[in-house]
Symmetry: C2
Subunit: 528 residues, 2 copies
């Protein structure tokens, strides 16, 4: 008897190619681990819910709204209960007239000019977040490119270049050039001979020469050729004075500063790679696009106080946040997308493992500060069109708008995107102090900063009462113990949201988690 | 007596800073060679032309039209003579209904669907081409981002990966990882100790570890951490099956293929760096924007046959290309922007050095092929949104549209952008053969290519009768002998155009050359 032998990938692909042609083959290649950009394989095909079956969804963020949308399509009677008076959850945009209230009492009135906004939460969409891109199309949310990598943005470290910010393109070119020179030198001294063969060594040396723009002596030196990458002191022009002059290169020591290569590395992150997108007009266009599919199904301004379940269904207790009036919602099933810092404070009738999991996932914070400037001086004076400037300071980065290029009039820069400990430091300040700190730090990049500043808003996620944090911050150990307990269906309740995923703090996480949850819930409901 | 000593840059900057504040300081820093992105310092302030002074401009490309615009503003009576029946010169777009006629008789009817276009000439604008960006604003030409660097485009070499195209992001990440491992190894074996000090060596090793995503043994190996850059075999997802699996890394030998590092290097070119722009709706929006400023001043369909000059002015002989009717235009001065392959065939009364210069500048060619596909399969099937795929084949690259993302219906890809010898090879084929070749080669990237192909147009610049080439191709030697003779004012004639610049084949070259030419001409005219 022959033991079962798994066919090789090639065997499978050949068989599939014969059976289904190129399209099937491509799909199969994707499925088998070649060039797999996403776990999204199209919307779930749920249908045929039992007559009268009902679901209550807690939270009208993207996870909750997608669950409500797909379960409605499948035939369930669906209601959504949302704490805030708007859809979207962390997917939102702040515009002039909006108010931000914090735990601790601070209240900010947003004063941006019409058309301007800050996206305090998600603000960019990777090309491979295919579930999100799919639903944006399905719901008519217009997208435009988000300018991610801008070679003309700055990089700043207090430990390099005497603290002077430098253009990303100059730093990245010189980092590459110095690396290439060092590696070519080592190769030519036979220092790699125990590692690579002669043929690869020769290819390597040629690669270093070309990639690094080394001269005939394999040195990285200031030249017109090098300047054609990093930029010129006097760029090429027209007519009698058109001849260019080369720029000086930076020294090895400066470009080896960690902030430099960390910035170069940043753009290699799969979730940070170009092409990226943003909705035209603000990130909340996505939340609004989802909400349009759920007219009449979302109860806003309702605080969930208890999630009870029994053999016959779930009972959700809530309070109207305006009137204090209490209410109950009953359904056969519950999809709960409430963020864990809030959910862990609510009475939930669930198994002990899920209860423990709910309380076990730490959340990180984040602070985003939007600064409205009187004009686009970064474009007009410094030729920076979108993208970022990175710094070793606690604001971490400064980002320039990806839309409205060349427009006259005020525009909003992201003046801080602090994470880690810095996010909590910012959270410990008053909004005014946060903005002052952002102006102080941001001035390292732009002399015009304070003079052009008009108004701002500083969102410290740890202080937002509806979430008390930014996003889940799983560790490998916590994941091992608690993840499956958190995401498994518990009686009649299933959790969804970015915290119920491996993706991290992205809208795609909320969607993929939601699709998985509703698919399983539907199977369970049909089998029940 | 003290000899004159040039003040140091710092001394100058300090003095300027005291006198004029931050804005002046920034401007001075730019002028003195720090972060100088362009030679453009705002439009020329020409004014007060002598009463009745006149200029004839030959060519209604960007150089000619800008000259006409600025000289008109300065008070000159200006007329423009243009061979073609449209403005823009090399700045143009082909749309459905357009006709392309070649030397040799081939005629192509463009059949693109409404809204689709190919830009046979310029197609992207670097952020530092400030003259062009300035006039786009002045003339109301709307711009949108051109997606240049797309990590999800492909790179293909017939000598690497068994000829299979790979995603740019995977190749670039692995190139970086292998380089980092080799250099860290060399450093740790003290092979660099005669080159860098211990402190820099330690910084270097840490940089290689971080930048290259090396493991604890300083090896570049397949892992989830590496996959977080290059992409996963199974990417992170949501719910119960959310755990990712790592992708395999490529071997050193494959990523050292020249096509790979040449592609990585390409994006470092100063003129290729992000952020880039394109006009909304087609590149010819720029030519049309310029032409709107010159209503009634451009005589189209007029072939210049002679450029005569004397002490009192210039006389331009021309023929109407439709009727054959001969005409003459007289003016005090002439700005001639006719490309040199054409100008060298026209009788020009100029000094012997200028005559020789006109005949001495070689032109390179280029072949661009626009292929209309029935749908955006690169987006729908392969998550490629704008940007390029590069190949070692003669088509050189395949580029995806930077606008209309996610739209249903037909779209135009740039199916070839051949330069060097390949451009002449394509020029030697019939248009049908060029398209067939592009389809054949492009199929290496996309299995869907032939099935989705609808129609196309192939523009071989060497065969366009109004230019007979793509752009000037100066060498250092030719530049040394002839450049100043070409650009200097010769009697009453001055040449302008990209050939009269150090910039190369860019619209900015035409503009900077033109601005320099008209500034000098105005000075000469005022002094005459």
């Amino acid at each position: 008897m022959t033991e079962f032998t798994a066919p090789s990938r090639r065997q499978l692909l050949t068989a599939i190619g014969k059976a289904g042609g190129a399209a099937a083959l491509y799909h199969a290649m994707t499925a088998l681990g070649h060039a797999a950009p996403t776990q999204f394989n199209g919307p779930p095909k749920l249908s045929g819910a039992r007559k009268g079956a009902s679901v209550v969804v807690l939270g009208a963020g993207l996870a909750g709204m997608l669950a409500a949308y797909e379960l409605s399509k499948a035939g369930y009677s669906v209601q959504v209960i949302e704490y805030q008076n708007r859809p979207g959850g962390r997917n939102y945009s702040l515009r002039g007239g909006d108010v931000v209230k914090e735990v601790g009492g601070a209240i900010q009135q947003v004063k941006f000019a019409p058309g301007n906004y800050l996206n305090p939460g998600p603000w960019r969409i990777p090309y491979h977040h295919q579930a999100l891109l799919h639903y944006c199309q399905e719901f008519g949310v217009a997208l435009e490119p988000f300018v991610q990598l801008n070679y003309n943005g700055y990089v700043h470290s207090d430990k390099a270049f005497g603290g002077k910010p430098q253009r990303y393109g100059e730093v990245a070119t010189d980092f590459k050039g110095h690396i290439a020179e060092l590696l070519a030198k080592a190769a030519n001294k036979n220092a790699l001979d125990d590692t690579i063969n002669k043929e690869d060594r020769d290819k390597l040396v040629e690669a270093m020469r070309g990639w690094g723009v080394l001269d005939k002596d394999m040195a990285y030196k200031s030249s017109l050729k090098v300047s054609a990458q990093r930029g010129f002191d006097r760029p090429p022009g027209g007519g009698v004075g058109g001849a260019p002059t080369p720029s000086d290169i930076f020294g090895l020591d400066d470009v080896l500063d960690p902030r430099m290569w960390q910035t170069i590395s940043f753009y290699f992150n799969n979730v940070m790679q170009t092409t990226m997108f943003q909705p035209v007009g603000g990130m909340d266009m996505i939340g609004k696009g989802f909400a349009k599919q759920l007219t009449g199904k979302i109860r806003y301004s309702s605080k969930v106080t208890k999630i009870a379940q029994g053999d016959s269904g779930v009972t959700i207790s809530y309070e109207d946040t305006a009137t204090g009036a209490k209410g109950e919602a009953k359904a056969d099933w519950c999809v709960c997308t409430i963020p864990l810092p809030i959910l862990s404070q609510i009475e939930v009738q669930a198994s002990a493992p899920m209860q423990t999991a709910i309380k076990s996932v730490p959340y990180h914070s984040s602070c985003k500060i939007g600064l409205e400037m009187k004009r686009r001086f970064w474009e007009e004076d410094e030729q920076i069109y979108g993208g970022h400037s990175f710094t070793s300071q606690s604001i971490s980065q400064l980002s320039y708008p990806s839309s409205g290029f060349f427009k006259k009039g005020p525009a909003v820069v992201l003046g801080a995107y602090a994470g880690g400990a810095a996010a909590f430091q910012f959270g410990g300040m008053t909004p005014e102090e946060r903005i002052e700190e952002a102006l102080k730090q941001g001035s390292v990049f732009h002399k015009q900063y304070r003079a052009e500043y008009s108004n701002g808003v500083a969102v410290a996620w740890s202080r937002l009462p509806w979430i008390l944090g930014c996003a889940s911050s799983w560790t490998d150990d916590i994941r091992k113990t608690h993840y499956q307990n958190l995401v498994g269906i518990d009686g009649r309740v299933v959790l969804a949201g970015e915290h119920a995923s491996y993706v991290g703090a992205w809208m795609e996480a909320a969607l993929l988690s939601s699709l998985d949850a509703v698919t399983r819930l539907h199977q369970r409901a049909q089998a029940a």
